[in-house]
């Protein structure tokens, strides 16, 4: 799992690349979100375009990231979900929990 961080205005965008799976990408996502929060970011957008596989641990990390950010009065959203990630969130009805966008500009705009 590689994570690249960039900013668009006051929105922190994390580009996730690779697998979000147990013992590998799950910890990386947690660390990246914690780092963004520690740096004062309240608007976090996870760009999932490069995610190749996500398992239940990875889904758990997304949920944890969502609740952690929300509990700190921040907002976490997702953009560019590959179909397999959409399917896996659909199965556990988490697709209704996250705010999800197909277009990055639209996602960034939604924070304002």
């Amino acid at each position: 799992m590689n994570i690249r961080q960039r900013e668009h205005g006051d929105v922190k965008i994390l580009d996730l690349q690779g697998k979000i799976t147990i013992g590998v990408g799950d910890v990386a996502v947690r660390d990246a979100v914690q780092t963004a929060l520690a740096a004062g970011s309240k608007k976090i957008l996870l760009n999932m375009e490069g995610v190749t596989t996500i398992d239940s641990a990875g889904v758990g990390e997304l949920v944890s990231a969502y609740t952690t950010v929300t509990n700190r009065d921040g907002v976490l959203k997702l953009v560019n979900l590959p179909s397999k990630v959409t399917d896996i969130l659909q199965i556990t009805q988490l697709i209704t929990v996250f705010e999800i966008y197909d277009d990055e500009d639209e996602a960034v705009e939604s924070f304002s």
Binding site: T21, I22, V24, T53, E61, K84, I91, T92, Q93, L94
Partner: protein
Amino acid sequence: MEKVAPHAHLTVVSRFESIELVLAVVDDLLKQAELNGETRHWVGLAVREAIANAVKHGSREEEERIRVEATVEDGEVIVRVRDKGPGFDPDELSDPLAPENLLRPSGRGIFYMRKLMDDVEFRFDDDRGTEVVLRKQISSEEDFARTEEDTG
């Protein structure tokens, strides 16, 4: 010459790092059975969850081993994962779709296995440990590769 059904046995150390090794073998086996990338992905994810569970809950001592057996025969993928864990009551698992569980960070692995496969069976034995048997019918046309890209 009679065609032999793809079959693999492997024993791996009970660590999360072993998951990719098991998946590489299982994926190769499913390719030999000419299953397409989509079907291989979902079977692989179910196997990933089974191995992760075995690593998390199946070790009574360090350097424990996990045994995996995979085959494609008579229109069915069967993957057996055996560990030394004491087992659990599958009926006691919480429902990850219940509103109070929706935002829990864990508790979805077996639910995914059951959704992705046709049948998931747990067997518990005091001496042999826990075995999970994953089954998926592949008789449907949509499971098979139609192009070279599908098999890649």
